[in-house]
Amino acid sequence: MLKVDDIHVYYGQIHAIKGVSFEVHEGEIVALIGANGAGKSTILKTVSGLLRPKSGSISFLGENIHHTEAYKLVNRGLAHVPEGRRIFLQMTVRENLDMGAFTRKDDSEKDIDDVFRRFPRLKEREKQIAGTLSGGEQQMLAMGRAMMSKPKLLMLDEPSMGLAPILVEQIFDIVREFHAMGTTILLVEQNAGKALAVADRAYVLEQGRITLSGTGEELASSDAVKKAYLGG
């Protein structure tokens, strides 16, 4: 479904991604784990078209997309929940969901109801400005908003960041639910334990390079991963 082949990404002179290749197959949950600054967010931004690779290629559903503008990829089935949620804080909860459905020509009312059924807290706050939501509610809004475009591939950048443990559980439950609905998922996490538990396959990223890959279980039991990311 998604094939990233030897991409190099720069911020000016800074060489952030140094030849990364990986694949996501339809129906999988793939995790990308790594320390802060490893380049996880940069990879997601490059896939979704916010950044351009200097070399290498990215194909999505069989088509090269590394020259495609970000906004055109939404229609093709790619959704990206960026790090820090990036919901529209000055717009209402409902308007945020409407923006998620921006590219859709059909009626999105039913899907908005679905999001509200899944997240009753958002329903209660439908007309409230999103900036007034708590961190957990904002993350749920960001995920609900991304689902409004009915993506085939959903990319989540550290959805559990800064949330209380009980909310982290909830977020991972939602990831499983979205997956059960047929959405393929690329999950970026610093919370390696949780991410490896839910992932079919995973890649470990260090300083812009992939250093390890395998099934979630394999990596969770690998000594190198245990030492570096799972606290011994």
């Binding site: 906004y71 921006f102 900036g131």
Partner: protein, 292 residues
Amino acid sequence: MMDFLSTLISGLSLGSIYALIALGYTMVYGIAKMLNFAHGDVIMVGAFAVITSVSMLGLSPVLSILISIVCCVVLGVSIERIAYKPLRKSPPLAVLITAIGVSYFLQSLALLIFGSTQHSFPKIINMPAIELGELTIRGNMLITLVITTAIMAGMSIFINKSKTGKAMRAVSEDRDAAELMGISVNRTITITFAIGSALAAVAGLFYGTTYGFIGPYTGSMPGIKAFVAAVFGGIGSMPGAMLGGILLGVIENLSKRYISTELSDAIVFAVLIIVLMVKPTGLLGKKINEKV
């Protein structure tokens, strides 16, 4: 009392023209994140388009107004494409200097085509004055007030309710996030310039009607005042631009009438400075309420 009322009404009328211009300023600032200092000169171009269509080509007023709007929209969108878009990722200072350059360019172009003399603006708004007891309201002021109020109401509905309006707010708040929703930031910026320039054309029409004469530099003063109005109301805020513009017009007219004609501009700027000292974000400027 009647004198005060009529000064107030002409202030409202002038202020509503400033408000139209300020709306364009503030929308472009909010969405494209730049101060388009050439905005005032678009008004001058619009006014000259009316003069050319009516006085030189003998076209009907309605057709002339339409031509003026089309000219301004094409001009505004072209300025963005040619001058500003290539600088989308440049430092703000480079964009600001470019905008000032575009402003001088338009003024020089008008100077070349129309010369330095003032051209009289055709009387295309023919509406008799209205008498309310002792109070006389000039027809063009009434039309200005009614139409600008309708435009401002329409703009509020558009920005709050329409899909494009919401997309504009989304782009204004977070460009990358908007792009990830499938919104084309470039297209949204183009639309913003188109709308701002159309408003400038209408403002040019009313400005020409109010003052009667247009020259190559006519746009710069209302441009600056509208910029002040936008900052006064809270730059980036549309209701702020409307309020700021109207207050500015009223303060200007009242100080002209009751204090001093020469000092009226100084008074306007003094009020701005005081407001900004008390509330640095302007009257309706938003405090960024970020929650992590």
